[in-house]
């Protein structure tokens, strides 16, 4: 029999696939592997892992559904895609939960074996959607993934449960075939990952190949699809997630400053990966301290900073709240310290595994007293690398705590990253005070930074702490005028940093009717929306904040160059509030707080609405 290799190969510009299944079905792994391979063949891509907070919710239930969406393209893309073109649903619950998001007429690939009465009931289906016509209008492909996997694995020494778990590799293989991707990367990965378990290697590899071959053999699919490599700037690339980029950025800052890196941290979703990654760099002398709580996380870091390490602490929203008092201590003692907040849905425990950008005001204002800290925010997964280095540079140069905001979406999401060479990264100069002559703990340099005199330095013994200090001398002081002076000096020091950060850039026309302003992880969605609106002829520009306290020096001038300002945020208007109060400028808000990235289409609609029909065209 001749295999049908001549199936039609359709060129697509971009595709969004969502893998969905039970929390135990390995959907995150499937998604990550598909992303890695997709990056490797040269597509631009952007991902959105979306999983429940429960590790293993009861199988088959809707709240146990775990998803992984990825958007890949032959062109420059910036979001994981609003709506999937393809849904891979491993069970009825996954179908039920994700169908509303699927594009009209989209493709559905289901594990038909799982559509039994029990699973249909668990998903609250009254009849089988594969049979009752409710999926008319979609391209539905029923593949008995469980039984095909079991057949393929016959003879392998694995328990029935282990065999069943290999079905995600079958699904992955099938998708590799459908989208014309090589399987070699994943085969290699399987061999490395399961080096100690030859049976797992055999089982998973067989399942993967079986899925791929099934695609080739079956009459089910009439076409295959391919997405050409994107035209990315020349260079060496890897796919990187935000948390990994953050960890690498701090590693680079440690190497470039010559300071040992100390991380005091308490595990919290979605920030835990940062301490996990950094813990693997022990041969760089990196010290990761898994503290007993969030407060110990930051206070050990403050102690390490006092003693001369590059000190950081990583957390997420509720953890930042717990660190509040200690941040004030770092402000008062004027020590370099970086606090990474991977924002998640709040308030309180909120939505631990979902994204949000509602910690902005907490970062900028959330402390007792006048306690200014630098706040910066990464815009994309790979930008976390740059901003980690920037946060370190600013903290050291100005002897100040810096809060680095990322969020669950960019922390877990990944994109291709053009890797910089180590020697291209700027050095971070460090000046420990050693001269005894004229030393005072609160003397200030031209940047208003006080000297970093670390324990172990002869004859510079001094005492610092959270009580107000006298200017220059640093002794405890209750003098009213001194307090006013110190409050003012600390504020001025932070404000002056505006002279040392990049100006706010405008993408598109530099002035006009509408400027869409964002910050942090919404960069991609806003950019894609602005591009789409411009392609439709709307005159709209974009500006994106990566430095929020202080704002770039030209902020007011940029904002005043446009008649209207639109600020989309995944909160109820926190940047909008800062802009309004700082510059007394009216802004329009667009706020959607669903625990998910903003949808491009929604922002486009909002742009058009703000422009009032044809305005700005």
């Amino acid at each position: 029999m001749e295999t049908d290799k001549e199936k039609e190969l359709l060129q697509l510009k971009e595709v969004t696939i969502r893998f969905a299944g039970d929390s135990g079905d390995g959907m995150q792994l499937t998604g990550t592997q598909f992303s890695e391979t997709t990056a490797w063949v040269g597509n631009d891509l952007n991902t959105l892992p979306d999983y429940p907070a429960e590790i293993r919710a009861p199988a088959g239930t809707i709240y146990g559904v775990s998803g992984f969406q990825l958007h890949f393209s032959s062109e420059d893309i910036h979001t994981p895609g609003d709506q999937p073109d393809v849904l891979v649903a491993m069970n009825p619950a996954a179908l039920k939960k994700n169908l509303p998001e699927l594009k009209k007429g989209g493709m559905i690939i289901v594990n038909s074996d799982s559509f039994d009465i029990k699973n249909l009931n668990l998903a609250h289906y009254e009849s089988n959607p594969l049979e009752d016509g409710s999926l008319d209008g979609y391209q539905v492909y029923q593949v008995p993934i469980s039984s095909l996997t079991a057949n393929a694995l016959e003879g392998v020494k694995l328990s029935p449960k282990e065999v069943s778990r290999a079905k995600n590799f079958f699904a992955l293989g099938l998708m590799y075939w459908l989208f014309n991707r090589p399987i070699d990367n994943t085969v290699k990965w399987i061999h490395e990952k399961f080096a100690k378990n030859p049976e797992y290697i055999e089982g998973n590899e067989r399942a993967l190949r079986a899925g791929y071959n099934y695609g080739e053999m079956t009459e089910l699919f009439t076409a295959r699809y391919t997405v050409e490599p994107a035209k990315l700037p020349k260079g060496t690339y890897r796919s990187i997630s935000g948390n990994e980029a953050t960890a690498l950025g701090f590693l680079a800052a440690s190497v470039k400053s010559g300071l040992p890196l100390f991380l005091g941290s308490y595990p919290i979703t979605p920030a835990s990966e940062i301490i996990q990654y950094l813990s693997t760099y022990k041969n760089f002398g990196v010290k990761t301290f898994q503290a007993e709580d969030e407060i110990a996380g930051i206070t050990t870091a403050i102690g390490a900073s006092f003693a001369g390490n590059l000190a950081i602490t990583s957390t997420s929203g509720p953890g930042l709240a717990l660190k509040t008092e200690a941040i004030g201590l770092a402000v008062m003692t004027e020590l370099p310290l970086i606090i990474i907040d991977v924002q998640r849905g709040g308030p309180s425990t909120g939505l631990p595994t979902k994204t949000e950008q509602a910690d902005l005001l907490q970062a900028v204002c959330g402390r007792n007293g006048e306690a200014p800290v630098v706040v910066v925010a990464a815009a994309t997964p790979s930008d976390c690398f740059n901003m980690a280095i920037e946060a370190s540079r600013i903290a050291i140069k100005y002897m100040t705590p810096v809060i680095l905001l990322t969020d669950g979406y960019i922390a877990n999401g990944s994109e291709p990253w053009k890797i910089p060479h180590a020697n291209e990264l700027p050095d971070i100069p460090v000046k420990f005070r050693t001269e005894k002559e004229g030393f005072y703990p609160y003397l200030r340099d031209e940047n208003l930074a006080r000297p970093w005199a670390i324990p172990g330095t002869p004859e510079l013994e001094h005492r610092i702490g959270g009580l107000e200090k006298s200017d220059i001398y640093g002794n405890v002081s209750y003098d009213p005028d001194n307090h006013h002076k110190m409050v003012t000096l600390r504020a001025k020091k932070i404000k002056n940093i505006e002279n040392d950060i990049p100006l706010l850039e405008v993408e598109g026309e530099q002035s006009g009717e509408l400027l869409v302003v964002g910050w942090g992880g919404t960069y991609g969605a806003i950019k894609e929306a602005v591009n789409k609106a411009r392609a439709q002829g709307y005159k709209v520009s974009q500006a994106h904040f990566r430095y929020i306290n202080p704002f770039p020096k030209n902020t007011e001038q940029v904002l005043r160059s446009f008649n209207k300002i639109l600020i989309p945020e995944i909160n109820l208007g926190q940047l909008a509030r800062l802009i309004k109060s700082e510059f007394l400028i009216d802004v329009q808000q667009f706020n959607v707080v669903r625990g998910l990235p903003l949808r491009v289409a929604d922002i486009v609609d909002q742009i058009i609405k703000t422009l009032g029909g044809n305005n700005g065209k």
């Binding site: 002398g285 110990a296 050990t300 890797i419 172990g456």
Partner: protein
Amino acid sequence: MANNVEVKEIKYTAKDFASDQEVRWCPGCGDYSILAQVQRTFPEIIDRPKENIVWVSGIGCSSRFPYYMNTYGFHGIHGRAPAIATGVKLANPNLSVWVASGDGDLLSIGGNHFIHACRKNIDLKILMFNNRIYGLTKGQYSPTSEKGKVTKTTPYGSVDYPFNPPMLALGAEASFIARSIDRHPKHLQEMIRRAGLHKGTAFIEIFQNCNIFNDGAFSLLTEKETKDDHVLELVHGQPMIFGKNKDKGIKLDGMTPMVVDLTTGKYSKDDLWVHDEFDPNPARTAILAMFDETPGFPTPIGIFRQITKETYDEGLFRQIEEVKKKKGEGDLEKILFSGNVWEVN
């Protein structure tokens, strides 16, 4: 130890450790004695240049301590001194790191950090000034105040049970546990000296009088007429004897301690429990720590326990060296370009 000779050339006096800051504790406060004993002891125990000493504190009267020591000092926030000190020690293991804290600071808001410092055996010396009251906030009961204590927040008497600090430290498996009294300067000096020489978390509970809010809390243990009958001074290798006329002893009957009279002829010195501060069995140390709560038993002071185990900092730096050996020194370029990389031409 021949290789210590060089180090001992550094000669300090107590004065070298006094800062230029005016000491501002209440007149008559027990803290003065603790400060004096630390400054007196340091020339003997400090085996490194003075700039390598760091005092860290939290909040409370005791926590003003670093200001009065002419070393590096960090006055932190309430309860967090052990954590801050941990960071200092791990950033630079050559530093000798000391914590000054109170019963409220260390055991209430800072309880978590205290037990975890003990558990991890971080090389810190923790001096807890215990006056069984909140002083700086003006007289509320503390986690060591006795049940029934009448204070501003417990006008009808406290219904809390107090912590037994050596028990707590033992439960967290601290490697050095001692107790002393502000008004017993020689003994306190000895405890500070021994803590300073210990490697690992060294915890000293120091009974300290607050003459403003809890005056006389330890008078039974400090007044001439009563102290001998109420204090048991633990001496390694010596039988446990106390009493004005050295007429009482502690005998261990299986795991049950009993106070015995040495004058009746029924028991002699040879029947008594001989104190072993290196006793690896925490159960016996626990019996000792519970004396306080057993009617008729004296309050032990001295070293309850001293055991040797790898400190956290030793473990951390050993591991760093091991990984370096295994993987080679870190190479940033290599790490950046690791994983699934591809070229775009």
